[in-house]
């Protein structure tokens, strides 16, 4: 046994009366294992900038007032902090423990048990609080970005803060692709934004079968195990943190849009063709843009041509985005404050924390506040045989969502680009929304409520308040029979109450519009209000209630000093109910909280839509969902001489799947693993390699799709939306008698290594990850009555490498340079898919992947350039450029479609360099993504010709012969042609490489350790993020990660951390 205890000899216990005087202390540092002196050990006094280094005999001397804290750091050794005595005559004897032993102390928390790292056969990554709080964020998951090899944030959505997390690629198609999140031993079903990152101690990412299969049928996408902070044995410590972040407003000009001049020219052309006649003659008072109104006024002889042109020219100069940027967007500001207290003794300890987060979002009118409160205690009873641990978490999120978001005109068309929100004198302006200006005016004459829409004035009038309150109570009772065997019972109660209230005041556009539409005007001008004048209060409330319980036997025995067996066996139950209810209140008086009764049954004619009969929307809906699981699990690890480790785990999950026979409700999953710690073999002698451990594992994880059933299922609806008002049912699923659970088979080979006394250390994992019986959509002949069928139809094959290397490049007394390199390679393809989809479906990624290609693939039509005579886009027909679109497109089969590559990068990672000079630390994260493609957006003429505007590429379109040499944007067609649009928009000319390197963030900090006013350490920091792209493959001004939405603006945070 070379196991040794940390021996610290601290001599000099006499209190000195003359402690205020600086004295010189001496000491020696040795290795705890070899007892040999250690040179070049850094010795620092807390709170001072003084750092000294030991000499060749391990000796050091340092001047101090005494009673101060010294920190010893040396690479390959665990850092050590000891308190200096007061008597300089007693030399200090310091023994430092090698990192290898330290590594052995690291435990991996699977959510069920803590296994020492050297007995782990699976693959995982672990982040401690220091790394988690390196970033400034209120969302714990965001702390994982760029920090874990193989964990990717996939952004390709409608909103910058919407992303999905994938661990080692994706091995599912139609089912959830989110990793399972476990908080304090139980799966977390609440909203992750309720968790304050400052309360998190560690996060462990379980990646392969051996690590994750204990979570069985929900582990297929990987598991994120979050452990919150707990009490500890020692004097009370108070930690506080505060920070302030400012983020730039988004660049609204990032998304290209047809300019006002082009927009008006198109409107002129359409007006000439009579396109607007439909709207003009409509009985539904369809709106016309101000430009079209001018053209109409001219046509009707009300204004002269020059007056019209003057008006149009004035409009052409306006760009709505300027006003949007100034009045509906702003720089965002976030504040975060957190404080916690922990302490305790051997028999009991405690933890208390409080946190406040406040954010004023980029969108004016949107803000969010969060308060978190946590308490945890731990008690030992009966000679430490019984352990009781309790924790209580409370979180209150409250948000205001009053920004109108995108402004629309006539339904779903984007507001015309020459709208103004504010005039030259700073007065807010009305814009045309749902109705003709003349109709809006006539409404005022009829003494109806104003029908004007003023986007800026309306902010706050429809006051939308969303929020949630979460309570989590977690208790565990552990009884230790003896050294080897203990039994634990755990229970968690989780309740999450959400609300989404919109109080549309009487003055809000929403209320005015609804009240007006339900008003009846009699021949004598008398008004009858079917919706009373007053506010309209729309309320939605949700309640999530979860009970989780677990009984588990733990066994851990070491015999003959060389055999160790660790085993758990247990059962677990989960019962989660989600209820949502909503309703509307009319004639709402917010002062007295009263409302008035409304006739919800009688359909009334809508004032703006003559002849349309609509009932007053009651807003009533309710749902009740239930999710239940019953599971049995076991995990056994046998280790011989701490060199050879074998592990096995098995789990059976059952759930209340609907309409599935009882025996089909469950799925058994298992894994096997082995590890060999080569560096502890007697024969292993290397000067370079000081640590080498091989791991291998094999097994199955699962993924649940609870939406399907073996029988035909239908969904009830109360009929209030149906023309007949009769309750009705909609078929959800055709029957699927052969439905099975999805499984993911993972084989993992891993190496953990340390070189040069662990100066360079790292982990490499190579894996295969195959999805089996994945549920996917099969396009169906619509003649059958369904268009798609969801069933176990796909298999995927993936493989990859995760690599993480930590290198201490320069270590000297005053300067440290440290590099962390994360690299992930992942390639996956659909090895089998039970159906072929159409070319369109592959191009538009309609959810059906192609056999032999990645799940998320970018395909295109072969581009034959523009027709030099007409500027029409061309494809290939029998190898010859052609514009017979019907034939070109029908001639393209899934086989001869061009495949560019995956939409998601297959090679990605980060490099983080940290430089510490004395008390200053600078670190920067550079992230990179390679090997993926994206489709650039461009002009869709169907939208242009239906007066919906379009992409700014319009101004680059082919207009005359020769333009084809400088542009690939087709000419404007004379008639709608879907095939022509699609041939261009899905052609290879719009596909771009996604490769890029980005400066993700930079952090600069200043840390001091001082005993001033009881402060133990203080850190001041600045953190800048979203700093932009360093290099990208595409020559277009598009950030490949945000190819259809403006990226987040740069942000900078300032903060401090204080412990005392």
């Amino acid at each position: 046994m070379k196991n040794s205890l940390i021996i610290i000899l601290l001599v000099g216990l006499f209190q000195s009366a003359i402690a205020q005087k600086t004295m010189v202390f001496n000491g020696t540092v040795k290795s705890a294992t070899t007892k040999l002196p250690l040179n070049e050990v850094n010795v620092a006094i807390a709170g001072s900038q003084q750092v000294i280094v030991t000499d060749n005999s391990g000796r050091f001397s340092i001047s101090s007032l005494g009673n101060e804290w010294l920190t010893f750091t040396h690479f390959g050794y665990k850092s050590l902090t000891v308190r200096l005595g007061t008597d300089p005559n007693m030399p200090m004897q310091i023994e430092m423990v090698e990192t290898e032993q330290q590594l052995q102390e690291v435990v991996v928390n699977s959510g069920y048990q803590q296994i020492p790292k050297h007995r782990v056969t699976g693959s995982y990554s672990q982040l401690n609080n220091q790394l988690l709080t390196r970033k400034v964020s209120s969302n714990i998951l965001q702390s994982l970005e760029d920090m874990v090899p193989g964990l990717a944030f996939n952004r390709s959505g409608s909103s910058v803060d919407r992303y999905s997390i994938s661990i080692r690629g994706t091995a599912t198609i139609n089912s959830s692709n989110n990793p399972l999140i476990v908080i304090d031993n139980f799966p977390y079903d609440g909203d992750i934004t309720s968790i304050n990152p400052n309360d998190v101690e560690t996060i462990t990412i379980l990646k392969d079968a051996s690590a994750a299969s204990i979570w069985g049928a929900r582990a297929g996408n990987g598991v994120i195990v979050i452990t919150t902070k707990k009490g500890m044995n020692g004097e009370p410590i108070v930690s506080t943190t505060a920070n302030y972040t400012i983020g730039e407003r988004p660049n609204l000009f990032y998304n290209s849009r047809m300019n006002s001049g082009d927009y008006i020219d198109v409107e002129k052309m359409l007006f000439g063709k009579g396109y607007y006649n439909a709207a003009i003659s409509s009985i539904n008072n369809q709106p016309l843009t101000p430009a079209v109104e001018l053209m109409l006024a001219h046509k009707n002889g009300k204004i002269s041509e020059s007056e019209m042109n003057q008006g149009l020219d004035a409009l052409k100069k306006i760009d709505l985005r300027n006003d949007l940027s100034s009045y509906l967007n702003r720089n965002n500001v976030s504040q975060q404050y957190a404080v916690n207290l922990k302490g305790g003794s051997i028999s009991n300890n405690y933890f208390l924390s409080f946190g406040y987060d406040g954010e004023l979002a980029n969108l004016v009118g949107n803000e969010n506040k969060r308060i978190t409160l946590n308490a945890a205690t731990n008690y030992l009873f009966f000679k430490n045989k019984l352990e009781l641990s309790n924790s209580f978490n409370y979180s209150n999120n409250n948000g205001q969502l009053n920004n109108p978001g995108n402004l629309y005109f006539s339904g779903a068309t984007e507001l015309y680009p020459y709208a103004r929100l504010v005039d030259d004198h700073g007065n807010t302006q009305n814009v045309i929304k749902n109705y003709r200006a003349s109709f809006v005016e006539s409404a005022t004459q009829k003494k109806l409520l104003s029908w004007n829409y003023n986007p800026l004035d309306n902010i706050g009038l429809s006051d939308r308040n969303t929020g949630q309150q979460e309570y989590r109570f977690n208790t565990g009772l552990k009884y230790k029979w003896n050294q080897d065997l203990n039994f634990e019972l755990r229970y968690q109660f989780n309740r999450n109450d959400t609300h989404d209230y919109t109080l549309n005041s009487e003055k809000s556009y929403y209320a005015r519009n609804l009240i007006n539409n339900f008003t009846q005007v009699a021949a004598d001008g008398k008004l009858t209000y079917n919706v009373p004048i007053g506010g309209i209060y729309e309320k939605t409330m949700g309640k999530l209630e979860g009970h989780y319980a677990r009984a588990q036997l733990n066994y851990n025995k070491t015999w003959n000093d060389i055999n160790n067996i660790t085993g758990i066996i247990g059962t677990e139950i989960k019962d989660l109910t989600t209820i949502t209810n909503s309703y509307n209140l009319y004639g709402y008086d917010s002062e007295h909280a009263t409302s008035r009764d409304v006739d919800y049954l009688t359909p009334f004619e809508q004032l703006a839509y003559p002849g349309l009969l609509v009932s007053v929307p009651s807003g009533v809906s309710s749902t009740e969902l239930s999710e239940r699981y019953l599971s049995y699990f076991t995990n056994i690890v046998y280790s011989y001489k701490n060199r050879y480790t074998f592990s096995g785990s098995a789990r059976l999950d059952q759930s209340n799947l609907f309409g599935v026979d009882y025996n089909q409700k469950g799925v058994p999953l298992y894994s096997l693993g082995a590890a060999w710690n080569i560096s502890s073999e007697p024969f292993f002698k290397s000067k370079v390699v000081n640590h080498l451990n091989l791991r291998s594992s094999f097994g199955y994880n699962g993924n649940v799709n609870r939406s399907l059933s073996a029988y035909t299922t239908a969904r009830y609806s109360n009929g209030s939306t149906s023309a007949s008002l009769l309750p009705f049912a909609v078929v959800e699923n055709p029957p699927n008698p052969s439905l099975r659970w999805e499984r993911v088979k993972i084989i993992n080979l891993g190496v953990d290594f340390g070189l040069f006394s662990s100066r360079i250390n790292g982990t490499i994992d190579i894996y295969r990850k195959n999805g089996i019986d994945l549920i996917g959509a099969i396009p169906f002949d619509p003649t059958t009555g369904i268009k798609t069928f969801n069933g176990n139809t796909a298999n995927t094959k993936g493989h990859g490498i995760d690599l993480s290397i930590n290198s201490n490049n320069i270590v000297s007394a005053s300067f440290i340079w440290n590099t962390n390199l994360l690299m992930a390679f992942n390639r996956e393809k659909v090895s089998y898919y039970g159906a072929n989809a159409t070319v369109d479906s592959y191009l538009q990624f309609a959810g059906i992947p192609k056999t032999g290609f990645p799940i998320f693939s970018v395909y295109s039509y072969d581009w034959a350039g523009l027709d030099p005579l007409t500027g029409d886009p061309r494809g290939y027909l029998d190898g010859v450029p052609s514009k017979d679109y019907a034939k070109v497109i029908s001639g393209i089969t899934p086989e001869n479609l061009i495949f560019h590559g995956s939409l998601r990068p297959d090679f990605f990672g980060t490099i983080r360099n940290s430089f510490t000079f004395k008390n200053f630390t600078l670190s920067a994260n550079i992230s990179y993504k390679f090997g993926h493609y994206f489709r650039r957006q461009s002009i869709r003429y169907n939208n242009v010709l239906t007066a919906k505007g379009g992409h700014g590429d319009y101004s680059l379109r082919w207009q005359k012969a020769g333009d084809e040499l400088i542009t690939s944007v087709p000419s404007m067609p004379t008639a709608l042609n879907n095939s022509r649009d699609n041939l261009y928009l899905y052609s290879s000319v719009l596909v771009e490489k996604g490769d890029h390197i980005r400066l993700a963030d930079v952090r600069f900090s200043y840390a001091v350790k001082k005993t001033l006013l009881g402060v133990k350490n203080l850190e001041l920091y600045a953190y800048a993020s979203n700093l932009g792209i360093i290099w990208k493959a595409t020559k277009f001004a598009i950030d490949p990660e945000y190819f259809n939405i403006a990226p987040l603006g740069k942000s900078i945070a300032m903060g401090l951390k204080l412990n005392f």
């Binding site: 009969l613 035909t712 007949s724 309750p727």
Partner: protein, 455 residues
Amino acid sequence: MIKKYTQLLIGICLLSLFACQKDFLDKKPNKALLIPQKLADFQALLDNITMNRVPDLQHIAADDCFVDDGGFSSLDIISQNAYIWSQDTYQNIPIISGWNTPYSQVFYCNIVLDGLEKIKDTETDKVGMGQIHASALFYRAFAFFNLLQVFAAPYGGGNENSLLGVPIRLSADVNEVVPRSNLKESYDLVVKDLERSIELFSTGGSAKSRPSKAAAQALLARVYLAMSNYKMSKQYASIVLASNEKLLDYNLLDSTSTRPLPNPLLAVNDEVIFYATILDLTFTGSSVVCIDSSLTASYGNGDLRKPMFFRKNGKYWSMKGNYSGARQYFNGLATDEMILIQAECLAREGAVEEAMANLNKLLVKRWKKNQFVPLTAINQKDALSKILAERRKELVCRGLRWSDLRRFNLINEDKITMKRNILNKEYQLLPNDKRYVFAIPNDAVILGGLIQNER
């Protein structure tokens, strides 16, 4: 001793988790879900208003309405192509409601029919079961009939065995491969199902969106007319009229109102036997779609139908609406259609006077009081021509004109060539043109292996 107790305690704890497991896992994951197996479930499936929708393609392609260049440009692509009878109607747009909706109806009906088969021995409410059984047969026949009008050649040329009909799916099994039946088999099934449903229906339906015995008889009259089987058509029209001859008196309605005709689902409209509407895409709702000028000109001065059905739209007239009482165009079954069928069949038999008398029964309710002069005919041809003219005026925008055009062209009556003029280009559709049969959507051809129609 303590050890023993603790072991016992653990044992109990573990057992308690197992004990409740059966019930525990039987809880529904979503309370709104159901597995259709009871009569109420089947009724709910059939009450889905999608069951009361019919294709729009045949209405767009017929000659009830027209659009000018500007109006044309505001239509969606499929409507544009249907309007000018393009060869490639769908331009790779995948969802073709004209095909998908009726087949979705067939699927719902088959779920109900398969489900009834399973409970037929145990269900005690035989009357309710019969009513639902009859309804499912009715809806399925209605769907097949509507599909046959759009996607198959007209019936009555004598070559029905060699022409293709539509796939006749009789089971809810989505994996079953069903090719297109021939035209005769297709119509035979429609007739057979309707006959069976007439036997099964006890009495009238409670809501106009639900079929009834009279609805099945009326549909059969419409089907036989489309098959040019005037004898049977008249027989069923007469049965319907024998039990209910009620007509709305247009003199009692306010023609100045936006939608003067009452909505049969929300108000009383005794003339309507069964409610159905044409799919409501851009064409049916658009204000630029005007009614054929020669048709609007043919309404007499005291004819109240003109102000009830149409509103003045610039130089032309646009549709206000008909028996849906809403924006949607009615395609359901009503007494007026039965009278017109009866009159037409009588005229074709040569019973001129009886035919005209029947026609006048309808017109008297349509004309201003005191201004109506009963129509007379000098011979069979005159009678037929007058009856068909009234049929056109009465059933405008009911989605029936296309079938009539196909029928008239096939039986060598007054052949009609339709013409459109859009963006200085003239389009025409000659009698019996191949484009009188719409193409089957690509997805159905590729995935279902169906034989495509030539166009």
